[in-house]
């Protein structure tokens, strides 16, 4: 286990959490993540109960079930949150070297723009496979 200290670009928002020594990273190419984030959104798996956040956080409710948070001072992406369980999926970029994590899964892989792609042989889930994983029987999963 490791203790992580991270921050946004300007340093106004500080984040601490505990995580595995080599935590899992996950990337999402859905249209909402890309609109929000310029390109793919990458999160790092941390212990949810350990997350502590300080600073000027602004939260935007992007759908009935999800929220996106950013620093009000510098606009840095902070996390993708789920309303139903209060979980916060922290942006990997808040931490040096993405907390030492490794990309293990890419969601909405078939919605990645044609102009770029991640390297590697990690698991790639299509839109249908992503829905099946997170919202079986439902429509939009973002």
């Amino acid at each position: 286990m490791q203790y992580l200290e991270g921050q946004c670009l300007c340093g106004a928002v500080k984040v601490t959490a505990t995580a595995a020594d080599e935590p899992k990273l996950r990337a999402c190419n859905c249209v909402m993540c890309r609109r929000h984030n310029s390109a793919a959104f990458v999160t790092v798996e941390v212990d949810q109960d350990s997350i502590k956040i300080e600073g000027p956080v602004k939260v935007f409710q992007s759908s009935e079930w999800a929220q996106r948070a950013f620093c009000e001072t510098c606009g840095s992406t902070l996390w993708y949150g789920l309303v139903h369980d209060g979980s916060r999926h922290l942006a990997a970029g808040l931490f040096d070297n993405a907390a030492g994590g490794t990309l293990v899964e890419e969601y909405f892989s078939d919605q990645c723009p044609q102009g770029y792609a991640f390297a590697g042989d990690h698991k790639r889930l299509t839109r249908e496979e992503t829905y099946a994983l997170f919202a079986p029987g439902e429509g939009e999963a973002q």
């Binding site: 310029s38 001072t73 606009g75 992406t77 993405a98 044609q114 770029y116 991640f118 390297a119």
Partner: protein, 148 residues
């Protein structure tokens, strides 16, 4: 007549119209871009005079020379630019503003050697190291020191 390319942020409050064509995509793995984007920052270079933006855009001077902008309502990335200096006059627009990244292609990665160990971008694209980039852009040294 030039093509008009339209885009918007996640919530739709910020709208953008570019008189085409869009440029190529560049990606950056520097510390500031990584913190800001949460992953890897990408931008499509377009002369500012061909861009019209409406809505609640908020900006932050992330270094003495660089400025970043986002939607104040939903937090979507909108642009990076150098307001002054040799690279002034251009926006690096967030590809996510446009459907299918505006059809643009990644052609260049700067700070390519600074990507996190755990992920990297694929492809036969130009890869410029931190040392190479800063040798040609000495003014960014201050920028990259700001976070460390």
């Amino acid at each position: 007549m030039s093509e008009e390319i339209k885009g918007h942020c996640l919530c739709g409050a910020v709208k953008i119209t570019v008189t085409g064509p869009l440029g190529d995509i560049s990606a950056c793995h520097c510390d500031l871009c990584t913190r800001w984007s949460g992953s890897v920052q990408m931008g499509i270079e377009v002369p500012q005079k061909r861009v019209e933006i409406t809505g609640p855009v908020k900006t932050h001077r992330s270094s003495p020379l660089g400025e970043r902008a986002w939607c104040d309502t939903c937090g979507s990335a909108v642009w990076f630019r150098y307001p002054e200096g040799p690279d002034a006059g251009y926006f690096e627009l967030a590809p996510g503003l446009f459907d299918n990244a505006g059809g643009a292609k990644l052609v260049r990665i700067v700070y390519a050697d600074r990507h996190p160990d755990g992920y990297a971008l694929a492809g036969d694209v130009q890869r410029v190291s931190k040392a190479e980039y800063e040798a040609k852009h000495p003014f960014v040294e201050e920028k990259t020191n700001a976070v460390s």
